[in-house]
């Protein structure tokens, strides 16, 4: 298919497929195991559709105990397991292998406990991100991390990828808002880590689980920090006639000491697509920033005025402060719909690198130059406040060779991010997409430590195979695991 290699499936597992499926069906309630080839095909990829492979079977448990049963069966039969939330990963985090069993969390949908006095909510992890905040709405609270796919993505996936979102500039990413987890180990053992208390003593094992991309365990329940909703919040929209000036404006806002809830960036290519869908009346210019501030009306007015003074020094083509809830929604809707709306321009590859905010103008300039060199258009839409970039490379999936060219372009952009002092991923995770670039970011020793930690949790290396660690780097660990009885 294309440039990122996946290992050969284990012939032994493939040969035992009927027995494996029978064992899962015998151990789990009817309607939990999916194994017909027509049906497993729908689970062959997530939102990174360039890589596809139907799994051996899909298991959709309804309880932690059923997850544990499925894990135990797979462990006993030495079958790789691919955890899956809502399948919205852009990094291929839920890509199956032909010899794997997908265990989905989408039926784990209970809200277990809401405690506003102690500021937490406990949920099963198949609950969607937005459903958590919806549950808290009447109480006047919300769950802060808000990835653009928050309508559909699950808490399980958010924890696996340590997801961020527009509002993370102020409130932090998932790991800053995760207090405890209930996990199912590769062996099927159920373990509780952390809980609804601050400052738990000992090693931060919850922090270890968060962002581990399904390499260590499957998270079935989570205790999440909730925060009271601010009295109000309003975005401003600032348009610039050059990408670099917009990047410069971000740096100046942060440098001034202001801490907006979010600073979002969209360039002209993205604006065109979004305008066609939302019709928010975005200005026709090279780049816009959406800066949201929150607090009381007086605080909001004060902060907007300071942002206006900063922006005006850079001669914006437009400065529009939202006055009503409807205007705020319209401004945000375009940003939140950006990724899907890009589909209107063609196929795209969505990247997720992070650079220091001060390096934004330089990085945007270099991406523009690379775009010309590769002959592929790129749209930039990202969380500018924390330098988390999402260049979307446009290509035609039905044209031979274009995907490979887009991938090379993408890899160059991610190398550019690392060279600028940033990193490969802000929030989407490594998955398979950035797997082979991990050696650019980390030394061999760094990776060895990470793999040793994985071996503690998953000695047989059965969980989410072929992700995160470059295949040649993980080969010795996988070989050792295969020799293990």
């Amino acid at each position: 298919m294309s440039t990122i290699a996946m290992p050969e499936p284990d012939a032994g597992v493939l040969a035992r497929a009927p027995q494996i499926i029978a064992a899962l069906e015998a151990a789990l309630p009817a309607g939990t195991v999916i194994s017909s080839p027509e049906e497993t095909r729908a689970y062959e990829c997530d939102a990174l559709t360039a890589y596809r492979c139907p799994p051996l079977a899909v298991v959709l448990p309804r309880t932690t105990e059923e997850v544990a049963t499925a894990m135990r069966v797979c462990h006993e039969l030495r079958v790789p397991v691919v955890p899956r939330g809502a399948g919205t990963s852009l990094a291929g985090g839920a890509l199956p292998t032909a010899d794997s069993v997908v265990i989905g969390t989408m039926r784990l949908r209970e809200i277990l406990e809401v405690d506003t006095a102690n500021r937490f909510i406990r949920v099963q992890t198949g609950v969607t991100n937005l459903a958590v905040s919806a549950e808290l709405e009447v109480e006047g609270f919300f769950y802060a991390p808000d990835p653009s796919s928050q309508l559909a993505c699950t808490i399980a996936g958010n924890i696996a990828m340590n997801s961020g979102g527009a509002h993370c500039l102020k409130y932090g990413v998932t790991t800053n808002n995760l207090m405890g987890v209930r996990i199912v180990m590769a062996t099927g053992d159920i373990v509780e880590l952390g809980g609804p208390l601050l400052g738990v003593s000992g090693l931060d094992l919850v922090g270890l689980i968060c962002g581990s991309e399904g390499q260590l365990a499957i998270v079935t329940e989570a205790t999440l920090r909730i925060v009271p909703k601010p009295e109000g919040a309003r975005p401003v929209l600032i348009g610039f006639d050059s990408a670099e000036t917009a990047g410069e404006c971000v740096g100046r806002i942060i440098r001034s000491g202001l801490l907006p809830v979010a600073i979002e960036y969209m360039d002209d290519v993205c604006l065109r697509a979004v305008e066609a869908f939302v019709k928010a009346g975005y200005p026709n210019c090279a780049a816009v920033l959406i800066v949201e501030v929150e607090g009381s009306e007086a605080e909001i007015d004060h902060q907007i005025e300071r942002i206006r003074l900063i922006a005006e020094e850079l001669n914006p083509v437009e400065f529009r402060a939202s006055r009503t809830a409807e205007e705020s929604l319209a401004i945000w809707k375009g940003r939140k719909s950006a990724f899907g709306a890009m589909g209107r321009l063609g196929d795209y590859l969505c990247l997720d690198g992070t650079v220091p905010v001060s390096k934004l103008p330089h990085t945007l300039k270099r991406i523009g130059e690379l775009s010309k060199a590769y002959g592929l258009e790129v749209a930039n839409v990202f969380h500018a406040g924390d330098g988390n970039m999402h260049p979307l490379i446009l290509f035609n999936a039905n044209a031979p060779g274009e995907l490979e060219r887009a991938e090379e372009f993408g890899a160059d952009i991610l190398r550019l991010c690392v060279d600028a002092g940033g990193c490969l991923t802000g929030e989407h995770g490594v998955g398979i997409e950035k797997r082979d670039l991990m050696t650019k970011q980390y030394t061999a020793d760094d990776l060895a430590i990470q793999m040793e930690i994985k071996s503690v949790f998953d000695p047989a290396w059965l969980l989410n195979p072929a992700k995160v660690f470059p295949l040649e780097v993980s080969q010795p660990h996988r070989d050792a695991a295969a020799r293990c009885p």
Partner: protein
């Protein structure tokens, strides 16, 4: 999303259209979040994204679909909630319609399934036959527990206690405008609705006349074709749609028409899509003209502006958004604004974007999922403590009405009442509407 069709396959216009639709999908998964069947079943195969995958596989490989694929596609309500959610503008409606047509042509259903679908296609679109069937069903209802098939039991359970006689108003004729004529409109009198409830058309005619419309019931109109269309029975649906197009064009080219008014939003979604439905038909141009004139009754009323309301009691109304209205036609605010303008207090249930499970013949063909959706819908509506429930689609009215004591009316019945018409029958007959003791609102 990448597709793999051969040039030969793409020579077929229907496949070419489906290829365009599939290419616009980026597989982002947003649609899963608002799909009612995914919410109930929790399997991606029962979500739009999963179904799109099944359809893609079936069409690309010219497959005779297997039983499981057909099951997942059959489970789609066609509520089109996914189209409201989709940021990429994927036209799921045209894709699933093509899939249904393809399945109907290539897949042989079991005999009892075929018999059932044949029966529904022969009865529902014909009000005379449907009325007889309803009377028969009411008589047979006490014996339903002896029936082996849940779908047959669901059909008997659905038969209402009161089956009205055919209304004189539904015959071809013209009703003059009251006062100066502002518009001349044709009314789509529908099929199943006419047999189940004659009050809706009566109220629509009164309301439109009172607002300066001459209302024409053209000769030769019948079912819009939606019922058979959603079963993949293309020939029947095209024949019915074409008959309506001819009947309406006859009026249009005669005395002229300003609009074709539809008060069953399920039909409205289909009539508005006539241009696509009949695009390869000899009367494609006429079909486009009719589709362009099609308006939901609340659209036309919003355009006309409501007369001063003076007549109705200021009840607390829970507005149920029919999927065909909110998703199929993207009409969300007009009905609520009209009800408010008519003096009612309007409340909306939580998850109003989720289907009630009626969905044409869905409640008959998929009773288990439909019943679960009905339970959820009625619970959210009742939580708003309404005195009356209002909806713009007969299917939803039957579905929700069968599970609540709260009176249920069509939106036009309330608008008609407020501007001088009679008190809607179900409110007049209801003991649930207590004016003095308004229950406290929880929302």
């Amino acid at each position: 999303m990448q597709t793999n069709f051969t040039d030969t396959q793409l020579a077929d216009p229907a496949t070419r259209r489906s290829n365009e639709i599939l290419r616009s999908c980026v597989h982002c998964g947003f649609c899963t979040a608002t799909c009612p069947t995914y919410k109930v079943l929790g399997d991606e195969l029962d979500s739009p994204r999963g179904r799109i995958y099944l359809i893609k596989d079936m069409l690309e490989n010219n497959k005779v679909p297997d039983e499981r694929t057909v099951m997942h596609i059959d489970r789609c309500l066609s509520c089109l909630s996914c189209m409201t959610t989709c940021p990429s503008g994927v036209n799921y409606m045209h894709l699933i319609d093509h899939a249904r047509e393809y399945i109907e042509k290539t897949y042989k259903r079991r005999w009892e399934e075929r018999a059932l679908r044949w029966l529904l296609a022969k009865i529902l679109p014909h009000p005379g036959r449907f009325r007889l069937a309803l009377i028969g069903a009411r008589l047979a209802r006490p014996f339903r527990k002896f029936l082996p098939d849940a779908r047959l039991r669901a059909m008997l359970e659905m038969a209402p206690d009161h089956i009205p006689p055919a209304s004189e108003n539904d015959r071809p004729q013209s009703f003059s405008a009251i006062g100066a004529r502002r518009k001349r409109v044709a009314l789509l009198i529908g099929c199943a609705q006419r047999a189940l409830n004659t009050d809706i058309n009566d109220a629509t005619i009164r309301l439109l006349r009172r607002h300066g419309c001459e209302v024409v019931i053209p000769k030769g109109m019948g079912c819009c074709g939606a019922l058979t269309h959603h079963m993949g029975k293309v020939e029947e649906s095209h024949t019915m749609a074409a008959a309506n197009v001819r009947a309406i064009v006859h009026e249009l080219d005669g005395e002229g028409l300003d609009a074709v008014v539809i008060n069953t939003s399920g039909c409205g979604t289909t009539v508005k899509d006539y241009a696509h439905l009949l695009r390869n038909h000899a009367i494609a141009d006429d079909a486009s003209r009719v589709a362009a004139l099609a308006k939901d009754v609340t659209e036309i009323m919003a355009n006309l502006g409501l007369n001063d309301p003076f007549h109705a009691e200021p009840l607390r109304v829970a507005y149920h958004a029919a999927c065909s209205l909110q998703h199929g036609q993207q009409i969300r605010s007009a009905p609520k604004e009209l009800l408010r303008a008519a003096g009612f207090e309007v409340v909306e249930p939580r998850d109003s974007h989720i289907c009630c499970g009626s969905a044409g013949t869905y409640n008959l063909m998929q009773p288990a999922i439909s019943s679960e959706l009905r339970i959820r819908k009625v619970a959210t509506i009742e939580a708003t403590r309404p005195q009356v429930i209002s909806a713009g689609n007969i299917g939803c009215m039957m579905q929700i009405g069968s599970a609540t004591e709260i009176p249920l009316v069509h939106t036009v019945e309330l608008l008609d009442w407020a501007t001088g018409g009679p008190k809607p029958r179900s409110i007049a007959n209801s003991v649930a509407v207590k004016m003095r003791e308004l229950p406290a609102c929880r929302c």
